[in-house]
Amino acid sequence: MTIRYPQLACTVAALLMLLVSGAPALHAKDLNGINLHGFVSQGYLYSKENNFYGESTDGSWDFYEAGVGGIYRVDPKLSIAGQLYARDAGRGDDGSIRTDYFYADYRFFQSAQSGAGFRAGRVRNPYGFYNSTRDIFFTRPSILLPQLYYEGYGIRELFFSSDGLQLYNYWDSDQQSTHFIATFGRTDDIDSNTFENIFGGQGGLFSGQAELRRPFAAQLSTDLMGGRWRAAMSYYDATLTFDSPQAIAELDANIIALSLQHNREKISYTLEYSLLSTNGLFASPAFGAAGNFASKGESAYLQADYQQTSALTWYMRIDHQLGDRNRPNETDSTVLTLGGRWAPAPNWLLAAEVHGVRGSAPVPNIDNPNRQISERSELFVMMAGYRF
């Protein structure tokens, strides 16, 4: 059981310094025209059979998230927004502080019922209902996200945000709100460890130059009757390339996701489905090997939330993933989740959930080195969070 206190302590100290600068309030702080927000959450995991985020079979505190951000309105059309963020999740994330997003937002069109603008810088990619705020405990539907959000080490960073240009547009009518958002990311170098992890390579085989080429993300979403019904269609496409003296490789991946939510006074239902298509080429003159591959994977979940009171919500979810349609029996995994969250005050949130896991896809490989992954595991997770 390891806890990385130094980073957490630094982040908490920074957040506290910001907190003491203002009187207690329920929402963001205003500091010289900058609207500030922040959050910190600490988790605990205990599991049987496989490790999740640290050595959770012995109990792990190795899971926290903290961030601080702000928005500054330069004039009615122009604003600047940014967020710094640190996350520790077992061996998969080390708690280092990084720039989560930082962009200028120019609203070039605004009418009484619609608006359009663009953002330039590091922007969040829209995908499903939760990707754009996936690292914030307060906005997730549960402590751990469904498999559709590809929590795997390496993939989440590529998926989460892009450096580039984002266009957005919304239209509000009496019964409906429609949004369109598209990100055009620039080609960027990526860590070869990330590439190795995605390709499943072993120590140092892929030491070379890796690139993420032209990531593109788009989402069309609509809310009917004040959000009683919400639906979204998301698309993400990117090419990963790798070049070294030993091997060259290229992987094209695209994901289509469909999302539907029905909100009632006490109950809401969320259903999301995604289809991931990958096509790859691989050539290694050094080893005399070459090949190509293509696969399709699917993921879907259904979650029901029951709000017993405005502060207490119970949720359950069935989450299924088919890693490769052609090998359904070897690559499928199911996670059943049962949990509750309680907000004793608007700034505080506590949650606890149990997961029954069948299959190895939801188990982080990186937290289980040199051991056989069991087909079944049970996991208990708790988290406490504070925001301002």
Binding site: A25, L26, H27, A28, N35, H37, G69, I71, R73, D75, P76, K77, A81, Q83, Y101, D105, R107, Q110, S111, A112, Q113, G115, R124, S132, T133, I136, F138, T139, Y168, Y170, D172, S173, D174, Q175, S177, M225, G226, G227, R228, W229, L260, H262, N263, R264, E265, K266, I267, Y269, L271, Y273, L302, A304, Q307, S310, M316, I318, H320, L322, T334, P346
Partner: protein, 181 residues
């Protein structure tokens, strides 16, 4: 006049069919249906609106020529961030548990407080807008809207004033926009 009890609750059977249909091709559809059925049979509390509320707007605001539910949703969901004259929109609300907040959400925005709160969190944490300022009492809310240019909020309707919108401030001299809520 706002409709106090919006007739938008008759859609559940449609949703049930939609969800079941989507689940049919899925290997876990049986279990999913079971969970759905279990949850759907939880008791539902009646939605109630207590006392009428009206939108209050700072009278220095130049409102759009017609104020519709669409515009009100743009404003309260945080999408519209400045009025036509460029004044920033500043939204004041009561705590989520306050009956007037619930009434306002249901009557004017046709939504539930928790749906609105999730939208505000989304705005805040993606940097795409500012969540409204929460004040503790209706008196504070009235006072803030009266004294802040570009402010909008809501208050209980007083006897004899059943207009959906009331302008508050020091110099009430307004054009008369059309309201369609």
């Amino acid at each position: 006049m706002p409709s106090r009890l919006p007739n938008t609750y008759g859609t559940f059977s449609m949703g049930e069919a939609g969800l079941s249909k989507a689940g049919c091709n899925h290997p876990s559809s049986l279990l999913a249906s079971l969970i759905f059925w279990l949850v759907a049979t939880f008791p539902l509390a009646a939605e109630e609106a207590t006392g009428a509320v009206q939108v209050i707007v700072n009278d220095a605001v130049e409102l759009p020529p017609s104020l519709s539910s669409g515009t009100l949703r743009s404003v309260f969901f945080g999408r519209m961030q400045s009025w036509p004259d460029g004044t920033p929109v500043t939204v004041f609300v009561l705590p989520e548990s306050h009956p007037a907040h619930k009434t306002f959400c249901i009557t004017f925005l046709k939504t539930f407080p928790y749906v609105l709160r999730k939208q505000w969190d989304q705005l805040t944490f993606t940097g795409s807008g500012n969540a409204p300022t929460v004040v503790a009492t209706t008196y504070q809310l009235y006072d803030k809207v009266r004294s802040t240019p570009g402010a909008i909020g809501y208050a209980n309707q007083l006897p004899g004033n059943d207009s959906p919108v009331k302008f508050v401030g020091s110099n009430t001299q307004l054009t008369d926009p059309k309201f369609r809520f």
